[in-house]
Symmetry: C2
Subunit: 157 residues, 2 copies
């Protein structure tokens, strides 16, 4: 692959990472549902669950980083720093998807041993939106993984 | 830093990663508590929670990888492959700590909005053991992060 096409490819993947992280943040941040259950009004918000808050914040950081990195010139002297910071962001996004996914799994399936009931039956819209957000977050992780492999392939000896 | 001392340092960190992942696996796999609550016998096992199972399996894979990598000769032609595989293992361990940590947080604090009660009051020994295991897993992630930064520092242009 030539240098120009390699750069175009990197730029495309960075834009994709920006889109995925920004979408994940927005979809999670707007997830909200009100419902009535046995005459009790339930309001589901992502802020009620620490793991979902962490997911939203991590993806917002990821989106900001993906935006800033677009303006970093592709000079070789930066590549080491970019590889290290890409790696840290990938780890942050991975942790966010894993944490939110684990709590989402409890919401969907419950945990009978702990006495935690599944709640997605009561708030299906909220659950679907959280799931959509998780899919975007997972895509962002995959895109960053491709970027990391590409950097390792081109810049390491 | 000379080449020999750099290699000794890497070996030390790899041994530390092996110890941390193996300890995390064993401590999680042996976590178990029986208790009686309102005349109902409760048995807490890590197998009852998918996130804890994932944590144990991920750390077992991490320990096996950390062991195998000790026998890979430090030849430059392998460094690219080692960097890539180190990165994937670090992401796996990060996901494991995040997923198990998120569910552990629900166990400790509960989630009143979802109607999930904290359960650590009933099974303190189990909770402490899971917490210890999470600390070991977190140490393993930090050790791998140092190893990754070291490899990036020494092998990238």
């Amino acid at each position: 692959m030539g240098k120009a096409s390699s750069r175009a490819c990197t730029l495309l993947f960075r834009l994709l990472a920006l889109a995925a992280t920004a979408t994940a943040t927005i979809v999670m941040a707007t997830s909200h549902e009100k419902t009535t259950f046995f005459n009790i009004q339930i309001e589901a918000k992502f802020q009620h669950t620490p793991a979902f808050k962490f997911f939203a914040i991590a993806n917002a950081i990821g989106a900001l980083y993906s935006l800033i990195i677009l303006f970093v010139p592709p000079v070789t002297s930066y590549s080491r720093l970019v590889l290290a910071s890409d790696m840290v962001i990938t780890m942050l996004l991975t942790a966010a998807v894993a944490a939110a996914g684990a709590v989402g799994q409890v919401g969907k399936k419950g945990n009978e041993h702990a006495g935690w009931l599944p709640i997605c039956g009561q708030i299906p819209k909220f659950c679907d939106q959280v799931m959509g957000s998780l899919v975007c977050g997972f895509i962002a992780v995959l895109v960053y993984l491709v970027l990391l492999f590409h950097t390792i392939h081109t810049h390491t000896s």
